[in-house]
């Protein structure tokens, strides 16, 4: 009796699904998605007929695949488990375009081009530093990729130092490459992180939320103690306050933030600021 319904339900069919109908839903690695041909879901019955990536080049729609999605030939595959998200292009709803990504909760970092990360120098070999960023293999960092570095004027970097840098090469087939300068050759905050302070790890989701433009936690923490803080997209946080005690408190509060509700957090912050 339920035969027709079962056949048409998305769970039982393993074929590709339309990305737009999956927004906010859980996707699993290996699933295939289809991008909609046009924005209007009301246009004819042909809305089901969707554009495969690269199959037909549409001049105006630009689709960006964020973390958790990968282009594989003309197919769009999910590589992470999480919720599918979408952001309309900033230019306005031209339809079909925008950014798609998978919002996931994980700890293992996968290098992404353009991400700012904190790495630990593990080796010096010739003209390169090997930097551990928490990915599957260490990133390479040229000693020329520092502000003001020349062949003669080498940066002072020791094994075990912390580096705040940015990925310029990051894909699945090649060794990731970092730099500590922007396109103008300026450090722009990147480089070797000071010798004091504490490095600790949190989940990648927490980092993303902390780095969101209007994150309350950062504003509240800033009122607590004077501090220096660096967030790496690879889940590492470096923090330094005046005393060791304060640094420890900040590190523990940031770590605990993930599992606290807003009220709990507010309570703890107010208690901390009193003491």
């Amino acid at each position: 009796m339920h035969c027709w319904i079962m056949a048409a339900s998305p769970i039982s069919s393993s074929g590709p699904r339309v990305a737009r109908t999956m927004l906010g839903q859980v996707v699993l690695p290996g699933e295939e998605l289809l991008l909609p041909d046009s924005a209007g879901p009301g246009t004819e019955g042909s809305a089901e007929q969707t554009l495969r990536l690269g199959a037909v080049v549409r001049p105006r729609t630009r689709v960006v695949c964020g973390p958790g999605l990968r282009r594989c030939g003309d197919r769009l595959l999910v590589t992470k488990c999480g919720r599918l998200r979408h952001k309309e292009p900033s230019g306005g709803g031209s339809g079909g375009g925008g950014v798609y990504w998978v919002d996931s909760q994980q700890k293992r970092y996968v290098p992404v081009k353009g991400d700012h990360v904190i790495g630990i120098v593990t080796a010096k070999s010739g003209d390169l530093f090997k930097v551990d960023v928490g990915g599957s293999e260490p990133a390479s960092l040229s000693y020329l990729a520092f502000e003001g570095a020349t062949k003669r004027n080498r940066p002072n970097v020791q094994v075990g130092d912390l580096i705040y840098g940015q990925f310029v090469v990051a894909n699945k087939d090649m060794e990731p490459e970092m730099v500590c300068i922007d396109s103008n050759g300026r450090a722009n905050g990147m480089g070797v992180i000071g010798q004091d302070g504490l490095l600790f790890k949190v989940t990648l989701g927490l980092i993303r939320k902390l780095l969101a433009p209007d994150c309350e936690i950062i504003q509240e923490i800033g009122k607590l103690y004077p501090l220096e803080i660096v967030f790496g997209m690879n889940g590492r946080i470096w923090v330094k306050a005046r005393t060791i005690q304060q640094t420890l408190i900040l590190a523990n509060v940031l770590e605990a933030c993930e599992h606290m509700t807003t009220e709990q957090r507010k309570q703890i912050f107010s208690r901390l600021s009193e003491s």
Binding site: A7, S9, P41, E48, G160, L199, I244, H259
Partner: protein, 438 residues
């Protein structure tokens, strides 16, 4: 995969913090991390959590012939494994130095201290004895593996029950668990390992070092002791010189810690026994803490749901009339319906009796079909509820509630591969619904 290196700044910070008598997690020098002991549904299975370090212990038994020189003694076997799941730096299938050291220490702590009466494991002298095997798996590594492993081993052994055996003449009868109650092992005492980490050549001492503290420590002293303050084994590694009174002080601390931990173990065993007797819920699934990621959850705003149905009706009324293709549900046979072009039903012989309904009633049909389909998962869930496997409460929350007009957002999840018109209509409704929530 390589171990994550320890940066210079972490090392410096840790040492300076230790000098100031501070620890990363806010503990005092002699504090243990929280110990949590949970039991599986089977006897002899437990998980011990020491902070974030987690060890699974599993005891199994087997009837074997005894060793030639010990005809009347059962055999004890310990095996600790460090899987890659615990830390990516552990290599599978390789006997690393650390693993050998830990296994040896465990054997010395548990077998050589004769905490288990091996003679009681003898069934027929020289022919059949019980072999008790303790498998320990490190599930997560956050330092101090040996303490967690020794607790897990002794807890699993205390919890274990072996099948009852009777010997009549030459005949050995092994009773199944249902026939006769299984018998516990006879345990003389409970040795527990306590680790002390030394820093700055023995100037500073910490109890229960975590992973980062272990990395910067100079030496480690492990004392295995039971609650009668009998030292079962003692081992110092790292090559530091300890003074006599340092070791004595450590043994005193160990005595206190062992008493506390033994108390905790007995309480956990008692609890589990009571729950089993009462027939309550037990097993790992029950003991997993419900840790939600709440930090950035949107605060719940009160939503007025009193006139949801009227509103929904309004929206439906305002929406564009459904296109021709959709508005005529096809009734293939009594009980099966099709709207739009789905996959054809192969159910029953397809008689061509197309009954056309009025356009107005089509919404009802759609909702009906949605309801019909969502019934399936819920039915499945009910069956599994009756099954012996206990589902946690949280799973039940996710059952979709099947009120036709109530929550289009949820039903949409399953309706979305149906013809376009249905899902687009739902989408319209979803948007309107969401607004007040934000």
């Amino acid at each position: 995969m390589k171990e994550t290196p320890l940066s210079n700044c972490e090392r410096r910070f840790l040492l300076r913090a230790i000098e100031e008598k501070k620890r990363l997690d806010g503990r005092q020098t002699y504090d243990y991390r929280n110990i949590k002991i949970s039991f599986g549904t089977d006897y002899g299975c437990c998980i011990v959590e020491l902070g974030k370090t987690r060890v699974l212990g599993q005891v199994s038994c087997e009837l074997v012939s005894p060793k030639l020189n010990r005809a009347t003694e059962g055999i004890l076997f310990f095996n600790l494994e460090l899987s890659q799941m615990a830390a990516p730096a552990f290599e599978p299938g390789r006997q690393s130095d650390l693993l050998v050291k830990l296994n040896r220490l465990l054997e010395r702590c548990l077998r050589n201290s004769k905490c288990i009466d091996t003679e009681s494991l003898c069934v027929v002298a020289g022919e059949k004895v019980w072999q008790i095997r303790v498998d320990l798996h490190l599930l997560n590594h956050d330092g101090n593996i040996i303490d967690a492993a020794s607790i897990a081993a002794i807890v699993a052994l205390c919890h274990f029950r072996r099948p009852d055996v009777s010997v009549q003449g030459d005949e050995i009868t092994l009773y199944a668990l249902e026939e006769r109650d299984p018998v516990p092992l006879s345990i003389h005492h409970m040795p527990i390992c306590i680790s002390f980490a030394f820093f700055q050549q023995g100037t500073y001492l910490l109890v229960d070092p975590n992973e980062r503290e272990e990395r910067v420590m100079d030496g480690l002293l492990v004392i295995a002791m039971n609650k009668h303050r009998e030292i079962c084994t003692i081992q110092s590694s790292g090559g530091i010189m300890l003074l006599q009174d340092q070791v004595l002080r450590c043994s005193k601390i160990a005595g206190v810690k062992v008493a506390e931990i033994t108390e905790l173990i007995l309480k956990a065993l008692e609890n589990d026994k009571r729950v089993r007797k009462e027939g309550g819920k037990f097993g790992f699934a029950e003991s997993i803490a419900n840790q939600r990621i709440t930090a950035f959850k949107m605060e719940k705003a009160p939503v007025d749901t009193s006139d949801v149905e009227e509103k929904a009706e309004e929206i439906i009324a305002e929406a564009d009339p459904p296109s021709e293709a959709v508005s005529k549900p096809v009734l293939w046979t009594p009980g099966t319906a099709q709207i739009g072009e789905g996959i054809e039903s192969s159910w029953g012989d397809l008689e061509e009796e197309e009954e056309e309904e009025e356009g107005g009633s089509d919404e009802v049909t759609i909702l009906d079909s949605v309801k019909m389909e969502t019934e399936d998962p819920s039915a499945g869930n009910h069956i599994s509820d009756d099954a012996p496997i206990v589902l946690s409460d949280s799973e039940e929350d996710e059952i979709i509630i099947l009120e036709p007009g109530e929550n289009p957002k949820k039903t949409r999840m399953q309706a979305n591969s149906k013809p376009e018109k249905v899902s687009s209509k739902k989408a319209v409704r979803k948007k309107k619904k969401k607004k007040p929530a934000n």
